[in-house]
């Protein structure tokens, strides 16, 4: 029940939240769409699309390849995470057996320990295996945390899934594959999609682990962004930041639609 006397404080709070959330995007948008902006004017002297032209049209621009690389790495990481995570989540969610607690701990650690530590440890071994400077190597290093995260999400999905539906389908004459395809998959699909999307986001945001294992050959957007910040080209850096953040916002919208605005558990 909305108490009438509460409209103003509520509007104030809503406004405050909106403002705080939008604040970081202001300088990004300003810089990305500026063509001339000198101190001390608080907004650009001239607007323009120079940065975007550079990104999309210039032959020497590494941005598009970097974007594609990011998409490949994150996409493959997500696929791997879901492919391995789906059966694991099903096992953990549907059945009860001893050692679940231990497994939970085993799966929590890789998510918690910073990628830095593990990447440094694995680096030499990856060099020996020829996995450094390869897409596969980077995907593998990302899977260290993307996979357990997906397992946890899918564990939750299957814990809420009633296997009696499958029994019912079998009893009505559906074979095991048919049951999986027509009954199980549609029912867990939203959760699977969310698991995949968040694994994608986790991999998408990675910088250091990609840098260490990718060795400068696998160049993703965050690596480019750092380089741009170092070079001082603010408009392009801002534009790339916006491109970089776009999937995150899209994924939020999609998962909100999928789960009905339920809380996202947060991705670094």
């Amino acid at each position: 029940m909305k108490a009438p006397g509460r409209t103003y404080p509520r509007r104030l709070l809503a406004g405050g939240v909106l403002l705080s959330v939008a604040l970081p995007f202001v300088p990004l948008v300003l810089w990305a769409f500026s063509s001339r902006w000198f101190y001390p004017q608080p907004w650009p002297q001239a607007w323009g699309l120079r940065a975007w032209e550079y990104i999309f049209n210039t032959a020497g621009s590494q941005i598009i390849p970097g974007l594609m690389q990011s998409v490949w790495v994150a996409g493959l990481s997500a696929l791997l995470a879901v492919a391995l995570g789906l059966p694991a989540g099903r096992a953990l969610g549907l059945y009860h057996f001893r050692g679940k607690q231990a497994l939970a701990v085993l799966l929590t650690l890789p998510v918690v320990v910073p990628p830095l530590c593990v990447a440094m440890g694995l680096h030499l071994w990856f060099i020996r295996l020829g996995l450094t400077e390869t897409l596969a190597g980077v995907v593998l290093i990302h899977s260290i945390f993307c996979l357990p995260y997906a397992v946890f999400v899918l564990w939750g999905v299957f814990a809420n899934y009633d296997p009696d539906f499958e029994d019912q389908a079998r009893s009505l004459g559906a074979g095991p594959w048919r049951t999986w395809y027509c009954i199980t998959l549609p029912m867990v699909l939203p959760g699977v999609v969310v698991a995949g999307l968040f694994a994608f986001l986790l991999s998408w945001s990675q910088y250091l682990s990609t840098l260490i294992i990718g060795g400068g050959r696998v160049v993703t957007l965050p690596i480019l962004l750092f380089a741009l910040m170092g070079s001082g080209d603010r408009p392009v850096a801002a534009a790339v930041s916006l491109v970089f953040v776009l999937p995150a916002l899209l994924i939020l919208l999609i998962s909100a639609r999928c789960l009905g605005l339920r809380t996202a558990t947060g991705v670094p």
Binding site: K100, T108, L109, C117, V118, L249, I251, L252, T263
Partner: protein, 304 residues
């Protein structure tokens, strides 16, 4: 996020048909993670303890750790990292409590506010660090605004907030990202049990301040502690933000670890790895404490 999912009452988990079945389902994931993560940690331990067969060092020793701990720079980095992570966590937690209470009282039903609040959760830290740089740098947006209204005469007069000694820019980034996370966790607790316990409190003659102190606070404390410890663990081990916004001396621990690891001097590598292990230790300890707090939270405020 770290909690083991429970099946609702009407769904019972089934007993396993065979170990092979479970092994088949869990196997690939467990093997993958076990090999990569376990292997990574093991190798890091070995290298940190001096085992480097390629360079002729095949004995385990604590020399790298000794060198680290006797280096005053390391201690300075360690202290600074604790400070940055700790202070940003505490500030974020305090702001979150106020925000959560406010949201609960004023906008408990508003889906829009909750949705907007989730945006910071998915935005990568790096983007915010870039934005903070653009806003708080000496020639940044705030400085320009200040000059325009006449508060300062030039960029030199703007207080140093990025690449500074106090890590202000870093903390601002963390606070922006983590306040929504903690707030949502606290809100979850308040939604679950808040209203009913408050009504009981009122009928048992507790005034508004008493209700806050004796009911609301104890109820949210475990959940708040769990969320804060998770935040601390993350900010302690994060690399990108201090790399961009931190000072060159003293370095925050994760940056120092990487710098040592990628140093031209091959002897510095194991020190980098050892530093990484120390970071991992602190982070894991925080996470374990967070688990314990989360368990306490579920026992306490979860189901009235």
């Amino acid at each position: 996020m770290l909690k083991i999912p429970d099946s609702p009452q009407h769904i019972r988990t089934r007993p396993i048909r065979s170990t092979r079945q479970i092994a088949g389902l869990l196997g690939p994931a467990v093997v993958c993670v076990g090999l990569l993560f376990g292997g990574g940690v093991l190798l890091a331990l070995l290298q940190g303890l001096g085992y480097l067969p390629g360079a002729g060092m095949a004995d385990l020793s604590l020399v790298h750790f000794q060198r680290i701990f006797s280096d005053p720079d390391f201690m300075r980095s360690l202290g600074l990292t604790f400070y940055v992570a700790g202070v940003s966590t505490i500030l974020a937690a305090a702001a979150s409590v106020v925000l959560a209470l406010g949201l609960n009282a004023l906008a408990a039903r508003s889906r829009w506010i909750h949705f907007i609040f989730q945006i910071p959760l998915t935005v990568p830290h790096l983007v915010i660090a870039v934005a903070v740089m653009f806003m708080l740098a000496p020639a940044g947006l705030f400085s320009r605004a200040a000059q325009t209204i006449g508060l300062i005469a030039g960029p030199q007069q703007f207080p140093l907030m990025v690449n500074d000694a106090y890590g202000i820019g870093i903390m601002a980034t963390y606070i922006w990202k983590e306040v929504p996370f903690i707030t949502l966790m606290v809100l979850a607790v308040l939604h679950n049990s808040g209203r009913e316990f408050l009504e009981v409190g009122r009928t048992l003659k507790a005034g508004p301040w008493q209700r806050f102190r004796h009911i609301t606070l104890p109820t949210i404390l475990p959940g708040l502690a769990a969320a804060s410890l998770i935040v601390f663990a993350y900010t302690f081990g994060a690399f990108e933000v201090p790399y961009l916004l931190g000072r060159t001396h003293p370095l925050l621990l994760p940056v120092r670890a990487y710098k040592k690891y990628s140093d031209v001097d091959l002897m510095a590598r194991p020190e980098g790895i050892a530093t990484g292990l120390i970071i991992a230790l602190v982070v894991v300890l925080s996470a374990l404490l967070a688990q314990a707090a989360a368990r306490a939270a579920r026992r306490r405020g979860g189901r009235p």
